[in-house]
């Protein structure tokens, strides 16, 4: 199986070049990634993504624990059609939401994605995640400084002859 990204295998090479140009050339513009990332709480949470267990990842990301809440609605399939692409989404009726994160408990690294929800953005997100095997998926909503969670099991079976 090829690992190139389809019909334009050179694209990534070109993009890498463009990236360094962008960092040098656009550093003084307000939207540049550099200055925005300088804020401590706005940095890519590298440590949290390195944690193996869900509990450690939550601790590294938030420094506190979450309590289950029926105001967090987590939607994921019962049986994933393919563990490589599992549609997962979350919505919530909680107020003052500042972030939403997804953890896949049985993955090698539990934290899958973490989203910042600025003022004015609806607290809800849909994305597609990889799951190594049958696992609990945990969504955490950070609202008014507290953490609320919802958990759902997704059955993952590996491929064969089908489709």
């Amino acid at each position: 199986m090829t690992t190139t990204t389809g019909p334009h295998p050179t694209r990534r090479l070109i993009l890498q070049g463009a990236a360094s140009v962008a960092l040098i050339g656009l550093g003084n513009l307000p939207f540049a990634a550099g200055p925005a990332r300088a804020a401590a709480n706005d940095k890519y949470p590298e440590e949290a993504f390195k944690q193996k267990s869900e509990a450690d990842a939550i601790k590294a990301l938030y420094g506190k624990t979450a309590e289950p809440s029926d105001k967090v609605k987590l939607d994921a399939p019962e049986i994933a059609e393919n563990g490589g692409v599992v549609p997962v989404s979350v919505t919530t009726t909680l107020d003052k939401v500042t972030s939403i994160s997804f953890f896949v408990a049985e993955n090698p690294f539990a934290l899958a994605a973490s989203y910042k929800i600025p003022d004015g953005t609806i607290p809800g997100v849909a994305n597609r995640l990889k799951m190594a095997k049958t696992t609990n998926v945990v969504a955490i909503v950070e609202a008014d400084g507290k953490l609320f969670s919802a958990t759902k099991e997704v059955k993952v079976t590996v491929g064969g002859c089908g489709g």
Partner: protein, 103 residues
């Protein structure tokens, strides 16, 4: 060259629904290639959406986000014709940016 980013942003009243699909391998670093060698991790770490000079959505991703990642969210305060700027950076220093008109 076509952008790595596909965006649909539709305003319905005060709420704009955004869907984005990004062409990226999102390699975990745990998978071996045909020769039995590990394919190094290569994944988008940050994806940002800005509208009218303000971040409206920021994603921090690890390797568990699917290949050619997809995300959907909604935000308030934009109208048809406004620009939505989308940019991503990956762990190897790659990046891409595009601007879409809200329709």
């Amino acid at each position: 060259m076509a952008s790595s980013i596909r965006v649909r942003a539709n305003a319905n009243g005060d709420i704009t629904e955004v869907q984005a699909l990004i062409q990226h391998p999102m390699d975990t670093g745990l998978v071996k290639d045909a020769k039995g060698e590990l394919i190094p991790a290569h994944f988008i770490q940050e994806l940002k959406f800005e509208c009218n000079g303000k971040d409206v959505f920021v994603a921090n991703w690890g390797t568990a986000v699917s290949k050619d990642p997809y995300v959907k969210f909604s935000f308030k305060g934009a109208k048809k014709g406004d620009d939505l700027k989308i940019s991503w950076t990956d762990n190897k220093g790659g990046s891409d940016t595009t601007t879409a008109k809200i329709s």
